[in-house]
C-alpha cells in the first residue's frame, strides 16, 4: 500500500501519523494460514491413525474413545487450534481491510488540507477534525480486533462428549438442508465434517444469527446467502458485533429461522454454520453500516 507524497504532506498539515503498511499483515496472514493447513492435515491423518485400531472393542477401547473425543483429546485439540488460528488470520484480514478502507477518505482529507492551506486556511480545523475522526475509527476498529484476539485465549469450551465419532445419536435425523440457499446442492460432505467435530450440534432454537458481508442487500434478498464454494457452508455468529467485523463497513445480515437449523460449533461460543448457505426467506434484513438503517427483506418468510 503506497501513499503518495502529496498525501503525506497533507497528513503532516493535519497532524496525523502516516498509516502503517499492510505488508507485515500479509506476512502474518500467510504464516497463520500455513499453520492452519498443517493442523487440518494433522487432524485428518490423526483420524486415519485412530481408525487403524478400529476393530478393537471393549472397555479399554471405550476409554480411549472417551479421551479422544474429549476437549483434551489430541484430534479435537488439533481442530480447535486450527479454528483459533483461522479466526486470528481472519482478524488480520479484517484489519487489513479496515486500513485499506480508511486510507481512501483520509487521503482525500489530506489532499483537501493541502489545498486549504493555500486557498481556505479557515477550513483547516474542520479538516483536521475529520482526519482525527477517521483515525479514531481506525484505532477503534483495531482495538476491537484486539479484543477478539484476547477472547481467543480462552480455553476451548467443554464439549459434549460423544458428539462426534462412533457414538449413536437418538431421534430422527434432522433435515440438514432445511435452511440451505439451494436445496438441490449436495452438502453431505460438509454435514459429515460438521458432525465429526466434537461438541457440534444441530440447533433447535430460533435465536437470530448474523452474517457480515459487503454484498448488497439487492442480491442477498434475491438469492440468499451462498457459500463461496457451492456445497460448502456459510458462517454466521450469534454476536452481531463479530459479524460486523466481517461486514467491513457495509452490511450485517440477520438470519432468523422458525425451527432452528445450523450447526452450533462446540469449540466456539458464537459460531453457527449453515451447510449450503441460507435461503432468502430466512434472511430477515440487513443493517447498513453506512446509513445506520435496517433494510427489511421483502422475501422474509421463515414459516
Amino acid at each position: 500500500m503506497m501513499i503518495e507524497p502529496a498525501v503525506l504532506v497533507g497528513f503532516d498539515l493535519l497532524g496525523i501519523a502516516p498509516l502503517p503498511g499492510t505488508a507485515q499483515l500479509d506476512r502474518h496472514i500467510g504464516e497463520l494460514d500455513r499453520a492452519v493447513g498443517r493442523l487440518r492435515l494433522l487432524a485428518q491423518e490423526g483420524v486415519h491413525a485412530y481408525g487403524q485400531a478400529d476393530l478393537n472393542r471393549g472397555p479399554a477401547t471405550d476409554a480411549l474413545h472417551a479421551y479422544m473425543t474429549s476437549p483434551d483429546g489430541a484430534l479435537p485439540q488439533a481442530a480447535d487450534l486450527a479454528d483459533r488460528l483461522t479466526t486470528a488470520a481472519d482478524g488480520l484480514r479484517v484489519s487489513k481491510g479496515v486500513i485499506e478502507w480508511v486510507v481512501g477518505p483520509l487521503s482525500a482529507v489530506a489532499l483537501a488540507a493541502r489545498v486549504a492551506v493555500v486557498f481556505a486556511p479557515h477550513l483547516l480545523p474542520r479538516l483536521s477534525a475529520m482526519g482525527a475522526r477517521f483515525t479514531a475509527m481506525l484505532r477503534d476498529a483495531l482495538s476491537r480486533v484486539g479484543r477478539i484476539f484476547a477472547s481467543l485465549f480462552k480455553t476451548s469450551r467443554v464439549r459434549a462428549a460423544g458428539a462426534g465419532g462412533r457414538t449413536a445419536r437418538a431421534g430422527p435425523k434432522p433435515d440438514y438442508r432445511a435452511v440451505a440457499a439451494n436445496r438441490s446442492t449436495p452438502v453431505d460432505d460438509v454435514v459429515a465434517e460438521e458432525l465429526r467435530r466434537p461438541g457440534n450440534r444441530w440447533r433447535t432454537e430460533n435465536t437470530p444469527v448474523y452474517h457480515g458481508s459487503r454484498t448488497s442487500p439487492d442480491r442477498i434478498f434475491e438469492e440468499g446467502l451462498h457459500p463461496y464454494v457451492p456445497g460448502d457452508r456459510v458462517y454466521t455468529s450469534l454476536d452481531s458485533e463479530i459479524a460486523r467485523w466481517y461486514a467491513r463497513g457495509r452490511f450485517t445480515y440477520r438470519v432468523r429461522t422458525s425451527r432452528g437449523g445450523g450447526f452450533a460449533r462446540g469449540d466456539s461460543e458464537e459460531t453457527v454454520t449453515f451447510p449450503g448457505g441460507v435461503h432468502r426467506r430466512f434472511v430477515e434484513g440487513a443493517d447498513d453500516h453506512r446509513t445506520g438503517d435496517f433494510l427489511p427483506n421483502p422475501h422474509f418468510d421463515p414459516g
Binding site: A35, H48, Y50, S95, F149, A150, F153
Partner: protein, 110 residues
C-alpha cells in the same frame, strides 16, 4: 459402541500397533513443525498499535504453546496404543500356547 456391560471384547493387536506407530510418526512430524514455527514466528507485531499488537502477539505465543502440548498428546496416544497392543499380544500368547494367532481375537460370549 457399547459402554458396558460388554457382551463383546475384541483385541486387534496389529491394528493397535499400526495405530500407535502412526501416532508416533505424527508426533515426530508435529514436533518438527512446531520447531519450525518457533524459528519463523518472531515477536514483530504486524501493526504498530498497542491495543492490537499486544493481544495478537500474546495469542500467537499461547497458540504456539498449545501446539507444543498437542505434540505431547499425540505421543501419549501413540505410546498408549503400542502399550495396549503389547498387552494384547502377551494375552494372546498366554491363551494360545503353541499356536499362531492371526487377526483379531474375540473374547467373551459368542
Amino acid at each position: 459402541m457399547t459402554s458396558g456391560p460388554y457382551d463383546e471384547v475384541v483385541a486387534d493387536a496389529s491394528g493397535r500397533f499400526a495405530s500407535g506407530r502412526s501416532f508416533r510418526t505424527l508426533a515426530d512430524e508435529h514436533a518438527d513443525f512446531v520447531a519450525g514455527l518457533r524459528g519463523q514466528w518472531d515477536e514483530e507485531a504486524p501493526l504498530p498499535y498497542e491495543e492490537f499488537a499486544v493481544p495478537y502477539l500474546q495469542l500467537r505465543r499461547n497458540l504456539l504453546d498449545e501446539c507444543e502440548r498437542l505434540g505431547g498428546n499425540l505421543r501419549y496416544v501413540g505410546d498408549g496404543q503400542v502399550f495396549m497392543a503389547e498387552r494384547n499380544t502377551d494375552a494372546e500368547d498366554a491363551s494360545t500356547i503353541g499356536s499362531a494367532v492371526a487377526g483379531p481375537v474375540q473374547m467373551g460370549p459368542r
